[in-house]
């Protein structure tokens, strides 16, 4: 029920916002998202973290019974963590929008909270179709946020965002349905009794996630490859991996600040989460086979995205492309298919959400003041906005992956995972024939992947410091034509900033020269989390550990290789049995 509440509360507040007067919209949205956060936090306390691989807090309601579609919710450790991230970014985004959004306020906040609900739904869904519904439904609010409150090119960006991701995910749906059908035609007699006892719904028509994951493993290698292709067609776009990333910079650049924050913070994680939740355990053999190819895309994305960042003049575009590079790291860790890599990858999801989300917030604050994101028009803002500059440098460092801040832990683990995952470690190719290498894991990546991806760390420093060097440091430069020297006299700091005419325009939209209390309040939680997760990531790692262990075990030894069922027989599909619900029961 808690998960249901986490989804329903935003929906209810959306309705309230639609009914309430324009002036109340923000308050209701804030309360709604805060309530969602509180519910998510409460759910996290109820959650039994010692069994984090198990879906908990479950509930199930029949929806389209004939189709086997249920409103079935549940969360394991990874889902819970991401639900918390979603909950956290909700109030932050509402706060961040308060001065930026002045037109159609009700519509804005209503869709914003609807988006929150949909995202929570994705993470909480234990039914493939419910997952898909929420996955797709996120498109609509985002589409509206971009097309109504975006920048000049917003309509094109919104359409591209929608169509690109929609197209991909339709194919992914086909893949998921194929697995469903495979499961339905599975001959229960050919499945070992142990597995059957755990997954009662094997061999019936069901969209239950854990059943399908088990069934998927029984597919032949060829089938798995096709299904993987279909899944990646949908999820890689969302991540986005290298060749299918082009919607992202556009969408980021055009989206309003809160949209960008959510886009970077949670929406991209839908793709990585989906790959973790479905691709990895459902088609483990195919993933193991194609991990090097997919990782190659990640590595290309890291370097390619990073280098492109370096030549941007639009700050927001720079950060947007940096997401391509960062998510490359995240996916590289995922495709390392070992504990370090996948743990790092999941941590990366959270950390990227925090640090890049915060960077978008910061850029939004600048945009609100100067109405430009052009690095050639902005410079040396440290002189004028020291608080902003402090945060900017801080989050840049988090994004660069400075140890002690959150980005490092995940980036290091992702790289370490890739580094470890080489089949040649034990084979003597590396000369390690004296005794087995201690922490090598089977895989097809290896040091070269890590090394080349690691250059991404250097490139990240290059482009992010380039940005900081241009915008934060250097002689003061602001648009609206006042020269650096001029501004230096008028804007000598926040304390007496109202004197010069450099501040007139700021007064026009009621913003102080430096950050307001509200703006600081949006950043502080993120900053605190960046430090906490950088210094003490252990709880987070423990939270996802059970789930990751399970996934790794599946990838290492998929069911089919366990000898019991060399080739499961098929039979005519079983009729749906709606009476049965899930193996993992409600609490």
């Amino acid at each position: 029920m808690l998960l249901m509440a986490a989804i329903l509360i935003p929906l209810v507040s959306a309705v309230l916002i639609a009914l309430a007067p324009e002036a109340r919209a923000k308050t209701i949205a804030l309360l709604g998202t805060l309530t969602q956060l509180v519910v998510a936090c409460y759910a996290a306390t109820v959650f039994d973290w010692s069994f984090s691989s198990r879906a908990q807090l479950g509930m199930s309601l029949a929806w389209f019974e004939g189709l086997g579609v249920n409103l079935s919710l549940g969360a394991d450790g990874v889902s819970m963590v991401l639900i918390l991230l979603t909950g956290l970014l909700g109030p932050v985004c509402v706060l961040a929008s308060s001065t930026a959004i002045t037109t159609r306020v009700r519509t804005y906040y209503a869709w914003l909270v609807v988006l929150q609900a949909a995202m929570a739904g994705v993470f909480a869904a234990r039914d493939v179709i419910l997952f898909y519904i929420c996955f797709e439904f996120t498109l609509i609010p985002m589409f509206i946020l971009i097309s109504l409150w975006g920048s000049t090119n917003r309509r094109r960006a919104a359409i591209k965002f929608f169509l690109f991701t929609f197209t991909g995910s339709v194919v992914a749906l086909a893949g998921l349905v194929y697995v469903t059908w495979f499961n339905a035609t599975l001959d229960r007699a050919s499945v070992p009794a142990v597995i059957l006892s755990q997954h009662e719904l094997l061999g019936t028509w069901t969209f239950d996630v854990s059943t399908l994951i088990t069934a998927g493993q029984l597919m032949s290698a060829g089938e798995q490859a096709w299904v993987l292709l279909a899944l990646m067609a949908g999820f890689a776009v969302k991540v986005p991996l290298f060749p299918v990333h082009t919607w992202l910079p556009l969408a980021h650049t055009e989206a309003p600040t809160a949209g960008s924050v959510i886009l970077a913070g949670v929406l991209l994680k839908l793709g990585t989460y989906a790959i973790y939740r479905f691709a990895l355990p459902m088609v483990p053999e195919a993933v193991a086979t194609y991990a090097p190819h997919l990782s190659m895309l990640c590595v290309v994305g890291i370097i390619y995205g990073g280098l492109i960042c370096w030549v941007q003049t639009d700050v927001k575009k720079l950060v947007a492309y940096s997401s391509v590079a960062h998510l490359g790291f995240c996916m590289l860790g995922m495709f390392a298919l070992n504990n370090t890599g996948i743990t790092g990858s999941i941590l990366y999801m959270v950390n990227h959400g925090l640090s890049t989300g915060a960077l978008f917030l910061l850029i939004g604050m600048i945009y609100e003041r100067y109405h430009t994101r052009d690095m050639n028009q902005l410079g040396g803002l440290a002189a004028k906005m020291p608080v902003w500059a402090t945060f900017m440098v801080f989050f840049t460092m988090a994004s660069v992956g400075l140890p002690g801040l959150n980005g490092f832990v995940s980036e290091f683990l992702c790289l370490l995972g890739a580094f470890q995952a080489s089949s040649s470690w034990g084979s003597g190719a590396w000369g390690s024939d004296i005794e087995p290498v201690a922490a090598a894991t089977p895989g097809a990546l290896g040091p070269w992947f890590a090394m080349i991806a690691g250059t991404g760390m250097i490139i990240a420093a290059m482009y992010l410091l380039y940005m900081v060097g241009k915008v934060v440091w250097g002689p003061l430069k602001t648009p609206h034509g006042h020269s650096a020297g001029h501004a230096e006299h008028s804007g000598h700091g926040a304390s007496h900033g109202s004197g010069g005419h450099g501040t007139e325009d700021e007064h026009a939209h009621g913003l102080p020269t430096d950050l307001s209390g509200r703006e600081i309040a949006t950043l502080v939680p993120l900053a605190v989390l960046c430090v906490v997760l950088g210094v003490y990531p252990k709880p987070l790692m423990q939270a996802v550990q059970g789930s990751v262990d399970q996934t790794v075990a599946v990838v290492r030894t998929p069911l089919r290789s366990q000898g019991a069922t060399p080739a499961p027989a098929r039979h005519a599909p079983q009729p749906t049995n709606p009476a049965k619900t899930h193996g993992e029961g409600a609490q």
């Binding site: 189709l67 498109l139 589409f143 929609f166 469903t180 059908w181 028509w205």
Partner: protein, 557 residues
């Protein structure tokens, strides 16, 4: 024999109502004239109710608790077609519900100026000039034909039912507005319709020639026992090609955009549902007569097309139409959805866009036809088609009703100006929130966006297609949904996101409340069915029971 009449109570009711309506429409009393629409609507609902409660069921335990209350007959092969034994109650109920929904926006279609003149005293009532009653009569005739399709057990019956469905619509189109465009639409529709009818009629003749009977049960029996001979197969191919006209599938789709654009929107909405439903029921019946029990491995064809169309993963599941028929429908389905969608992309005219989208939706549904029966709602393509007809009927009625409910004043000749292009819909959510949101909801539903009704319509097509091994076609379907997303998004978000240009007047509400009511009811229906559609889908599945061809006993004629 009287038991057999139980099948036809709904049609009888409709026919009686038709007569009553025609008479009422000639009354001098305005109230009597106005009551004709009410009578029409009520009769449709009563017919639907009767269909549910009085239709004899093949299985005693039909899922509707009311069934068998009025007449508790068990169905026998002599009584009706047993290929889709449970089809009639569901299909007729859907026809009645959607038909009633489609009636709401028809208000004032043909009699508006006349009635206005009478009301203003500029003219007296002239029975010769009054065509209101005829219009509702045509509407009822058409629905009668449609319901007859659902209970057809004979090719001749089917032919007559199809013609009864279509002929009135030709006139409805031609007289729906007094503009030349409607005349043009009428003539195109009529002439091409006659051509199409000739084609499927010829196909029927061939099927008869091949099997020696026109009774569908007997045909099925003949095919299952004697095999599918070439003439029968050719007859089936030609019949289905001809029926493609009814469902607006390629290559018989050409008329669709012109006719939908030329007709008044409420009539276009009618066209998008009624002939399409008739066509699909007919196609399903023909396919059921042939049966889905063929395996393609036997056909031994290794041509390129086979390589393209056969899915890479599943071979020879032995659950398909005969190869030739399968291949033709496969190609038609793929072509239809693609052509419909890519041409819809180019449109600015809303009605034309919806016409092309209607073509595309036929393509989607053909996937269900290919998939054939299954043992659950998720694997039965027939059930998917039947449910999709309901879903499409409701959401489609919503979009057209919005168009019908709006107008942009009248032109120099006193003819009202319709909402034509997307630009006319700008800012609709602001000026007419209910209609605007109806447009948003129905368009997104047509797009198949989860969790709206359209998605749950498409999902069984997806699942049944994959279960039948039609993975390539399902992917084509998916990609087409994505193409379609482009124009549906425009349709959904032009009212919501765009704001009206300065100086262009907002469209005003047509002075017929029922039109807007129809739109809103449709939107509510979409939302409600999105939540509880599982119930309707259960009935669709019950209706989709296909008796194996072998189960049909020979009783001949």
């Amino acid at each position: 024999m009287t038991e057999r009449l139980a099948f036809l109570y709904p049609e009888i009711v409709l026919f009686v109502a038709t007569c009553v309506v025609m008479v009422l429409g000639l009354s001098k009393s305005l109230r009597a004239r106005k009551s004709s629409a009410v009578v029409a609507g009520l009769s449709v609902l009563v017919a639907g109710f009767l269909a549910v409660v009085s239709t004899p069921r093949a299985s005693g335990d039909a899922s509707c608790p009311l069934s068998g209350v009025v007449f508790s007959h068990a169905m026998t092969p002599e009584m009706g077609q047993v290929l889709l034994p449970e089809l009639a109650p569901y299909a007729k109920a859907v026809i009645a519900l959607v038909g009633a929904l489609l009636l709401l926006p028809l208000a004032g279609t043909v009699d508006r100026s006349d009635e206005a003149k009478i009301a203003s005293g500029r003219a007296g009532f002239d029975p010769l000039r009054s065509n209101r009653a005829e219009f509702y009569a045509f509407y009822l005739f058409s629905l009668t034909g449609l319901m007859l399709c659902a209970s057809a057990d004979d090719l001749i019956w089917l032919f007559l039912a199809l013609e009864l469905t279509s002929l009135p619509t030709y006139i409805m189109v031609a007289i729906s507005t007094s503009r030349n465009r409607s005349r043009e639409a009428g003539v195109k529709y009529f002439f091409l319709g006659a051509l199409g009818a000739a084609v499927f009629l010829y196909g029927f003749a061939l099927v008869y020639g091949g099997t020696g009977t026109t009774n569908l049960n007997a045909i099925a029996h003949s095919i299952s026992t004697g095999g599918l001979n070439t003439i029968t197969l050719l007859g089936m191919v030609v019949s289905i090609l001809g029926l493609c006209f009814k469902i607006a599938a390629a290559p018989m789709h050409f008329y669709t955009p012109d006719v939908y654009e030329g007709a008044a929107p409420q009539v276009s909405g009618f066209l998008a549902f009624v002939p399409k439903t008739a066509g699909f029921i007919a196609i399903l019946l023909l396919c059921a007569a042939v049966g889905w029990g063929y395996s393609h491995a036997e056909s031994g064809v290794g041509s390129l097309l086979h390589a393209v169309s056969a899915d890479p993963l599943v071979q020879g599941t032995g659950k398909r139409l005969p190869y030739l028929l399968w291949l033709m429908i496969w190609v038609i389905a793929a072509l239809t959805m693609t052509i419909g969608n890519v041409l819809a992309l180019l449109q600015r005219s809303v009605k034309r866009m919806l016409a092309y989208s209607s073509i595309a939706h036929s393509g989607y549904m053909l996937v269900g036809v290919l998939a054939g029966p299954g043992d659950s709602a998720s694997t039965s393509g027939v059930s998917a088609v039947l449910f999709y007809l309901l879903a499409y009927g409701v959401m489609n009625a919503g979009t057209f009703a919005v168009l019908a409910a709006l107008e942009r004043g009248t032109d120099a000749e006193g003819e009202r100006i319709e909402v034509e292009t997307l630009d006319d819909l700008r800012g609709l959510c602001a000026s007419h929130p209910l209609l605007g949101w109806t447009m948003v909801v129905c368009s997104l539903s047509l797009l198949g966006l989860p969790p709206l009704l359209g998605f749950f319509g498409k999902l069984p097509l997806f699942t049944s297609g994959i279960a039948a091994g039609q993975i390539t076609l399902v992917v084509v379907l998916g990609l087409n949904s994505a193409i379609a997303a482009f124009y549906y998004l425009r349709l959904a978000f032009t009212p919501l996101l765009e704001s009206r240009d300065e100086g262009t007047p907002a469209p005003v509400l047509a002075p017929f409340r029922s039109r807007a009511a129809g739109a809103v009811i449709a939107a509510v229906g979409v939302l409600v069915l999105s939540a509880v559609g599982g119930w309707a889908m259960g009935h669709a599945f019950d209706a989709a029971k296909v008796s194996g061809a072998a189960a049909v006993t020979a009783e001949g004629h």
